[in-house]
Amino acid sequence: MIFNAREIASGHTIDADLCIIGAGAVGIAMALEFDGTNKKVAIIESGGFEFDSTTQNLYKGYNIGRPTYPLERNRLRYFGGTTNHWAGHNRPFDAFDFSVRDWIPHSGWPISFEEYEPYLMRTQPILELGKYDYDSAEDYAKELGLPTLPLDNNRFISVLKHQSPPTRFGTKYRQQIKQSKNVTVYLYSNVLELNSNASASHVTSASIAVIDGPSYTLKAKEFVLATGGLENPRIMLLSNKSAPDGLGNSHGLVGRFYTDHILIRPALDISLSRTDLDFRFYTDLHTINGGKVFGIMTVPDVLTRREKLTRFRFHLYNVAPMYDRPIGGVFSNIDGVPETAAAPLTKGRGTYISVHMAMEPIPNPDTFARLSDELDLLGQRKLEVNWQVSDRERANAHRAIELCALEFARMGYGRAYAPILEDPEKWPPNFTSGKHHSGTTRMSDTPKTGVVDRNCKVFDVDNLYVTGSSIFPTISHTNPTLNLVALSLRLADHLKEKML
């Protein structure tokens, strides 16, 4: 069922078994896991079915750290959430991501990849992806009749990314939710705070307001926050009647460790020494095994470990390069290129390939999302976000780009141009964040090092769960959607076991 909360009488109380706050990918995927059960599920959604700037502006806040995108720009506050503008790229975290890496402070998940992977498999069809296989790049390329890069696999490997159509959750799953007898979405409903018992150990209800409309209360046995990497901590911090510092924040970690991917686009451009190269496996989308895929370059665990790096990936694009004057043709003979394939000294298509990088950041407790003193339309304190990048991360980016430049030259493909190679002490101008807000309610084994436990339950609160990218302790180099939906399915299983 889908309900317009503007029609609710002010002061009304709704009862549910499970209250999921947020109807984005995570909220909808979780709710559908309960479809057809005997549990009454309420999904609280701030927006309607379309973008509305008044509602969207409730996301407004302040970047007080390194300049990045305005907070209201890179996520969407209406039914379907940020999947309404999601690009659709997918690749899972892997076993290495879950491990403790002694050279990366605060790394390591309390769960293993083995207990996580089954949920990745279950997520594939939800995101309209093909066969669950992300590592057989060589086999896929062979089947497609396309070459892969002749990489030195001690340094680089080709792997796969899967492309979702992309699935717009608000469109794709609207009908199923509408027809559900036990799952109800309440549109135009903004959670102001979660109310708890005196010891802040049990959430009793959510206070909800409609813009220019009624206020009402939703009581439930279990509560799940599924509002993204910034709103999840915001709601917890706003819920401060019983716990002055916010729910689940006895160790001051809610909002801490705020992180995002580090993108350099392009990281480097290759001026090709030959014109007979075929990069289509990497630059184009390919339909195979029931889905769409493309190749990317990443590094093997052994190199990451040996060089004590964070993880990173490279995408290849046929976009115009940064350099003004190509040099690739100078090296045709040096690179042993057949005369017919020697590159001219011009900047035409086929004489360059552009390489974009996404890099895993290092968890940092000094970066944060916290409440400011400014209020939004509903009288709620806005967020202020402090995103920072460190010298070590810059050195990591430099090394990653250096390795990539070396590899293209070693393959005899051309020479690399990258501003950071010339000036390793300076971030290149085309460096930005990935718009993947993460880490603010991180998962951990203990409340001293995290906000939620291995089951996504907030420490010290017996019926409050958080899911989405905010629970990631580390975020690898890869896009979050597949991973956060998989974690939400895992949470759904946990709650079903508890509730059914």
Binding site: E339, A416, Y417
Partner: protein, 144 residues
């Protein structure tokens, strides 16, 4: 491919060779474009042949050399010796076989530079140390 300035030099030499009565006397000693040249010059010429678009290569070398005053004074013979040294070739014992293998040895050495990270950054471009030496040789050879 473009060997403009290099092929011109070779053509001149070959023209001279074709009209010379000394050809028969020298033909058993060396081969290729450098019949009239000493071993170092022959090696230099042979190595420079590897470069396409030598003008652009010289530009890169000029930027590199400008940053290191000690390199600015090097003659083409010194650059050639440096390169031969990199290739572990004795400049006093250059044979026909050595000359014929120069291209493949340079190619392999340059590839190894990228494996061993023996590289130099010039104007945001990553180049191998050996190929920059080669470009520097091309620059100094033209000037000699």
């Amino acid at each position: 491919m473009n060997f403009s300035s290099i092929t011109c030099t070779r053509r001149d030499v070959l023209k001279l060779v074709a009209t010379s009565t000394t050809v028969t006397l020298l033909s058993g000693v060396t081969s290729g474009c450098g019949l009239w040249k000493n071993d170092i010059e022959q090696a230099a010429q042979r190595m420079i042949e590897l470069i396409n678009y030598p003008d652009r290569a010289r530009e890169m070398a000029a930027i590199h050399v400008a940053r290191s005053p000690e390199l600015q004074q090097l003659s083409y013979k010194q650059w050639t010796r440096k390169l031969l040294d990199v290739l572990e070739i004795d400049p006093e014992n250059i044979t026909k076989g050595t000359l014929n293998s120069l291209h493949s040895r340079l190619r392999e050495q340059i590839k190894q530079d990228f494996v061993n990270e023996n590289v130099v950054i010039v104007n945001k471009w990553m180049l191998s140390d050996t190929e920059l030496k080669l470009f520097s040789l091309a620059t100094s050879y033209t000037e000699s």
